[in-house]
């Protein structure tokens, strides 16, 4: 072996110096990718991780009522807790009152059960009138809710430092006093409806886009270059135009005194004083989202159809197939990769859509993204917004993973 070893000009075995060169190339490639990789890691992946963390983090309140929760550990939550729990609660609340930080537990407890806000405020106000001993009675005297199982159970439910309660809330479930998972009352089951509506809208927008995009992608792929370039502008101009511009044009079109309603009245489908509502409901969301996402369906379909030779269809016809059969047996199967790519892309984009539903969707057309934004900006229940975001993220990443397996992420075509 050693006698036949090939040496490079400087006397090192060729194998060794080749490996060295390969390694150098590898390091160079890694170093080129590293800046962006680290950047994305720090400014994107890490924050998303922190968001997930935030959705289960419930440590703040356990740090503010430490003695109460320690005392509650021995309580089986079947009957009202005994004196030590109330004594501990008195100590914790006195400490919070002294430091003026009790406001922070109010919000948290109110998410758990509404009614805590007034309960805590009233109790804290009267705390200095408490006498030594027999705290249970004194608490119940201040407010009868301290003697109600619902409230004491809810208080115990906030004890764990880590909790997936927000995820349960995201699908209309909750812990009851016995810490069993139950459905929330019928009139408060809103999130399941939202999820279903989001999936429903995404599904139908994908179908509509597909039905509309298939013929025009075919036309673009088969027309001579000089015509198809011109028509391609019709696809690319909306693609490059600001989302808000496109949404505002739909708001103009769909408003009650807008051109589409004018046309409906003119054609006699509706009376002038009884114009249909086309906007601020799910119809507006459907129409606007379909038009806005249509280019994302046309472009992948077009790039696949472009590669299909027209002679295949001619061959099919010459072998006796009717146009319909040739299409069904030859052309359609060849376009399936493009259909998969386009449908997955449109579905992914529409499931997280926010701007358009918020502007033209109204209450009945708002989607899960709008709820996340509401909890981020208005109700300020950031943990719940994070949990909803995490659930949406899991859904999107699953589809992304399928997309990557089927299409390959490096095959995405832009324009």
């Amino acid at each position: 072996m050693s006698t036949e070893q090939i040496l490079s000009s400087d006397g090192i075995p060729l194998e060794v110096s080749l490996k060295k060169a390969e390694r150098r190339n590898k390091i160079r490639a890694v170093l080129l990718v590293a800046p962006l990789f680290l950047f994305i890691l720090i400014i994107y992946v890490f924050p998303i991780g922190e968001m997930l963390f935030r959705s289960i983090d419930d440590r703040k309140i356990s740090g503010m009522l430490p003695k109460t929760f320690t005392a509650m550990e021995k309580w089986d939550a079947k009957d009202l807790p005994k004196e030590p729990v109330y004594a501990a609660l008195y100590e914790d609340l006195s400490y919070l009152k002294e430091n003026k930080t009790y406001g922070q537990i109010i919000a948290r407890l109110n998410y758990e059960k509404s009614g805590f806000s007034s309960l805590i405020k009233k109790t804290v106000r009267k705390l200095n009138k408490f006498e030594q001993g027999n705290y249970k009675e004194q608490f119940i005297e201040v407010h009868k809710r301290w003697g109600q199982m619902e409230f004491m159970g809810a208080l115990k439910n906030t004890a764990p430092a880590w909790s997936y309660a927000k995820y349960l809330k995201g699908v209309d479930l909750k812990f009851n006093q016995e810490r069993e998972i139950v459905q929330v009352p019928e009139d408060r089951r809103i999130h399941k409806i939202l999820w279903m509506r989001t999936i429903n809208v995404a599904f139908w927008v994908t179908i509509f886009c597909f039905v509309l995009a298939y013929p025009i992608a075919h036309l673009l792929a088969t027309l001579p270059m000089k015509y198809s370039n011109l028509l391609m502008i019709c696809v690319l101009l909306p693609f490059w135009t600001s989302l808000l511009v496109r949404t505002s044009s739909w708001m103009v079109l769909l408003q009650q005194q807008g051109p589409i309603n004018d046309l409906i009245v003119l054609l006699g489908f509706a009376a002038n004083d009884n114009r249909p509502e086309l906007m601020y409901n799910v119809i507006g969301t459907f129409v606007a989202m379909t038009q806005i996402l249509l280019p994302f369906m046309v472009l992948p379909l077009y790039s696949v159809m472009k590669t299909i030779s027209p002679s295949l269809m001619r061959a099919g016809k010459s072998l006796g197939g009717t146009p319909l059969i040739s299409f069904y047996k030859i052309y359609f199967p060849l376009t399936v990769p493009g259909i998969g790519a386009g449908c997955l892309l449109v579905f992914i984009l529409s499931i997280g859509y926010y701007i358009t539903p918020a502007l033209v969707g109204g209450a009945s057309g708002s989607l899960i993204s709008n709820t996340i934004a509401y909890h981020m900006k208005s109700s300020l229940d950031w943990a719940f917004a994070s949990a909803l975001g995490a659930m949406l993220l899991v859904g999107v990443l699953t589809i992304y993973w399928i997309y990557n397996k089927l299409v390959g992420i490096d095959n995405i075509k832009l324009g």
Binding site: N25, Y44, P215, S248, S249, V252, Q255, Y400
Partner: protein
């Protein structure tokens, strides 16, 4: 597309039906954009085609909403335009440099875990903006960059890089690596080779990636909604605020300007794409 003489009547009917359907879909795609144009020249205060406009009476049209956009009292568009341009400019530079460099590494055959790394780098394009916005908001608040231009620019660099990575790697797939080896064998160092050989050849891809990054940043509203304070307002934010209150003709004027801008960008992008295809020897 004229049909040969021997085609049957059925096929003829089907063919013209098909063309009509296509025409309607194209109309559906492009027509909404053109509704805005005439309304921005409306002389009246309503978002409605007035009788004078329909009669093409010159009195029905005016430039008052454009004047209002530029000189109107306490109008936010000047500040918004300035902010939008500053943010988009720096975000474009950042994403283009980071994305191009990463694409060079990614298209090397020596890159380990290529598919996984690529999937991670593209993910900001796929993950819903509301999630990105939420996560980046928490992060920027923590490091003290919320309501600053820097914070928004950093966020937009994240959102813009996937487009640059995609377009530049696509350009590099048709790239003949023997030219860089030739340069190296003639004694050129890697940086010199990149500047003199590689960059001029992949420039169309880089510029079209940069255009994508620019448009992404310039149009982006969800993340800015979370990050922006009063001083960081951008054009999309002002449009968002305006549209939520009420449709005003001034917004139509702004929208018209944006449509003109996107037309210019589209033309540039198309010219670049054709040039790139010609350079790479792809003939259609």
């Amino acid at each position: 597309m004229s049909l040969p003489k021997y085609t049957s009547l059925n096929y003829r009917i089907w063919h013209y039906t098909y063309l009509t359907i296509c025409g309607l879909v194209f109309f559906f795609l492009i027509a909404p954009l053109f509704v805005i144009l005439p309304l921005s020249f409306n002389a009246e205060q309503y978002i409605h085609f007035s009788a004078k406009m329909l009669a093409l009476d010159p009195e029905g049209f005016s430039l008052r909403w454009y004047k209002d956009m530029i000189w109107g009292t306490k109008n936010p568009w000047g500040l918004a335009a300035k902010n939008s341009i500053i943010i988009a400019f720096f975000a474009t530079i950042g994403s283009t440099i980071l994305g191009t460099v990463a694409a060079l590494g990614l298209s090397s055959r020596h890159m380990p875990y290529k598919a996984a790394v690529m999937a991670l780098l593209i993910s900001p394009m796929i993950v819903p903006l509301i999630i990105s916005g939420t996560a980046i908001f928490f992060f920027m608040a923590k490091v003290g960059l919320s309501a600053t231009h820097t914070g928004i620019i950093l966020a937009h660099i994240v959102l813009g890089t996937p487009f640059v990575v995609i377009t530049v790697t696509a350009t590099l797939t048709g790239f003949d690596h023997s030219v860089t080896r030739a340069a190296a064998s003639l004694g050129s160092n890697p940086v010199n080779t990149f500047m003199k050989i590689t960059l001029p050849l992949i420039l169309p891809g880089v510029i079209s990636g940069a255009l994508f990054a620019f448009v992404t940043s310039f149009d982006e509203v969800v993340v800015v909604l979370f990050l922006a304070g009063l001083d960081n307002t951008t054009i999309p934010i002002q449009m968002w605020v305006g549209l939520r209150e009420q449709l005003s003709p001034t917004i139509m004027a702004v929208a018209t300007c944006l449509i003109i801008m996107s037309t210019l960008i589209l033309v540039t992008a198309e010219l670049l794409r054709r040039r790139s295809e010609r350079l790479r020897g792809i003939n259609n």
